[in-house]
Subunit: 425 residues, 2 copies
């Protein structure tokens, strides 16, 4: 990760990253409302954020949550994938529009108003929503906010948009790469509920490089499974996760391989940003499993370790409780009825081997070294820019095959509990 | 649950429950030691607790963790199940004796000393250990503690033993039932790491009723899968979970069915005690799933909801965030590729239907009622006796079959994080 010596320096780097590809404009506005479902003293604030293509484009692709109770924008978005072209995407935060009585109509009403002002039909636009599950959108207030939203559009950069889609995110997340004559720029939001299959994560990939729709869809699926599907903050996948990509086709394309490599690098960086920004994250934990009989097995084990609350709380406390780590490995292997040769398994925390030849490698000096390692890996709140740039490495070699996988996630802190004990206030 | 109006009244009830069946004695002592693996200012304290049969008995049974990295006492205990008889069980807390270089020998050395004083051979006794994973037992100090341990034995009740085996438990857990001419009495410890397959849970069932070994084993397995396997505090199963049963055969037996029913009721109560005593538990959550295509599916869904950190933190905060609840249900069903008819699913929180016919049933009045329900279900620390006696009910009807299952677990609180961020100090 890059580091920056001042907030100004970080901001400048973020703005440079956020420069829009040709053929896009982006903007945001905000509105206030009172939810129907809760009596509140002060009204809530919602951001509306818009990505608009200068010209309708047939080159777009999407991946959505596998949650069995998908949000209305997900249901609508899936249908949009068979439309001949798209004009853009409208995002609101604060309410995720899931399983409400008129959720489809609410979303489409807002898009219809957008189409009146910005051109085309309501179904030329993707809706995306993030926030509280189960509440209805404040449709009236959203309709009124469409004209100022259009007025906010600018062609220079994505920073306002990326800030507008945030919920409990600490900072806007944008990554980009120059490719051939064009660019790939991506923005995401996601803090709680981050798991495989992209839980309450919204991500938008923009490019001006010419690319066919099916190529874009395939590249997005392959890259998504290697990036967004490898992160885990709290093991829940949300009802609203969405990853959309669209091309303005304003620049000459590159080879499919070159495109996919650039897309993969942008998405990998974006995914790290999301984890580093997890609710209450004080340590980023990376689990690498090698020597597994299959990649699925390796990934399953890596995620199981990442999702163990006992491992997560120990790391939070800078407590090198490697017993819990081995317990979590053994728990997952046992539950899978996987017979491992204990004497061959090697487990490391950072550079220190803590388990080999069937036994723990622990003494007072190792314990002190491990505790120091965890402390150095801790987020420093006095230096909140850029993203938290440190990582705790847990490395497991099962010596039972050639497959490997890596997953990243976060520890479990007081702040995680605080943020989630009443997120909705 | 019973409630008591004073600590004295609760203590008296516990003592009555804890009366030993005929043919057993129990006791405990404590020792201090300095671990090899960590430099500490003050020595640690360990309890040694002993259950002794007056006469060796061939009627005993056991179930152990499925963790792939089992503790040395588990490895030894599995072998003990094929021995002709047993004389008792020796339990230590503080260190769980898992994957250490001489873990088997350490445990057997201590049992050999016990046999010298109490009779028989070292392999007439079961060892059981709970506590820090990966550290070695303080064998010298344990050897010296055997004579005072024997001197502490009493034939009246199990309370000292049940207190001695605790780690971070808030209170000793004992349940019993009178059956025919005899009794079944069981004690358990378990606070963190409670999941299916009995994570860091030690439980001991004693009876004076005559019963054949294979009948006891079968009853224990059936009852275990319906009780200990239905609880979930933090979704980790430990390296040391052990459920042992032994009979002194001092009283005439009852029918297998009568025995199993009594055993099931004792174990069900004990399991509730364990959950109510979870580290930092402020709400006990019971998830009931009905209308599932199979019992395994119903149980899997119930546990998935119980293990969702977002559901757990919302309940902790008395925040009726039913969106997260539905999200967790949908997450599990989606991950299982289970196609549910959304319009038929009904979800309740307590008495309130919060989801039916595919949509949330929410308004400001419902929200207030739900928040009040969660508050009433909260543990009152000013009334810590007996166990926390309140429960939050989450009820899911999938309308997709006839199978049902129930699981209980706990919320996720600041105290959970605090207890686990450095449990070892």
């Amino acid at each position: 990760m890059e580091t920056y010596t001042s907030p100004g320096e970080y901001r400048a780097a973020l703005e440079a990253r956020a420069a829009l590809p040709a053929g896009f404009r982006a903007g945001r506005t905000s509105l206030t409302f009172r939810p129907r479902e809760r009596s509140v003293e002060n009204p809530y604030t919602m951001n509306l954020s818009l990505l608009l293509l200068d010209d309708p484009s047939p080159s777009f692709a999407g991946i959505f949550t596998r949650n069995a109770f998908p949000g209305h924008p997900v249901v609508i978005g899936r249908k949009r994938l068979s439309m001949p072209f798209t004009r853009g995407v409208l995002v609101n935060n604060k309410i995720s529009n899931v399983c409400t009585s008129d959720g489809d109509r609410d979303a489409e009403q807002v898009l219809a108003r957008l189409a009146e002002v910005a051109g085309g039909d309501y179904d030329d636009y993707f809706p995306a929503s993030t926030g509280i599950i189960g509440w209805r959108l404040p449709v009236e207030e959203m309709l009124q906010a469409i004209p100022p939203l259009l007025a906010s559009l600018k062609g220079d950069n994505l920073l306002e948009f990326a800030s507008g889609i945030m919920t409990t995110d600490r900072f806007p997340k944008i990554r980009s790469a120059a490719v051939g004559e064009g660019r790939i720029v991506a923005a995401a939001k996601g803090a709680g509920m981050i798991e495989p299959n992209m839980a309450t994560m919204l991500a938008f990939v923009l490019t001006d490089l010419e690319i066919k729709r099916d190529e874009l869809q395939k590249a997005l699926e392959r890259v998504g499974s290697r990036t967004f599907n490898r992160i885990s903050i709290d093991s829940d996948q949300s009802t609203s996760d969405t990853l959309l990509a669209m091309s303005s086709r304003k620049r000459r394309g590159v080879s499919p391989r070159q495109f996919e490599e650039a897309l993969a690098s942008v998405c990998a960086e974006l995914v790290e940003d999301i984890v580093r920004n997890g609710e209450g994250t004080t340590h980023v934990i990376r689990v690498s499993v090698s020597g597994a009989p299959s990649e699925g097995m390796a990934l399953g084990l890596a995620k199981a370790v990442l999702n163990s609350p006992l491992v997560k709380t120990a790391v939070f406390g800078n407590d090198p409780n490697v017993g819990r780590l081995v317990m979590a490995v053994g728990d997952h292997l046992g539950a899978q009825s996987f017979e491992v040769a204990l004497s061959k398994v090697r487990i490391r925390l950072g550079d220190s081997v803590i388990f080999s030849e069937g036994v723990f490698r622990l003494d007072a000096a190792t314990e002190e070294r491990l505790a120091a390692y965890l402390k150095v890996g801790q987020f420093d709140p006095k230096k909140p820019y850029p993203e938290h740039d440190r990582t705790i490495d847990i490395i497991v070699d099962l010596a039972a095959g050639q497959a490997r996988a890596q997953a990243i996630g976060s520890d479990l802190s007081y702040d995680y509990v605080r943020e989630n004990a009443d997120y909705r206030t």
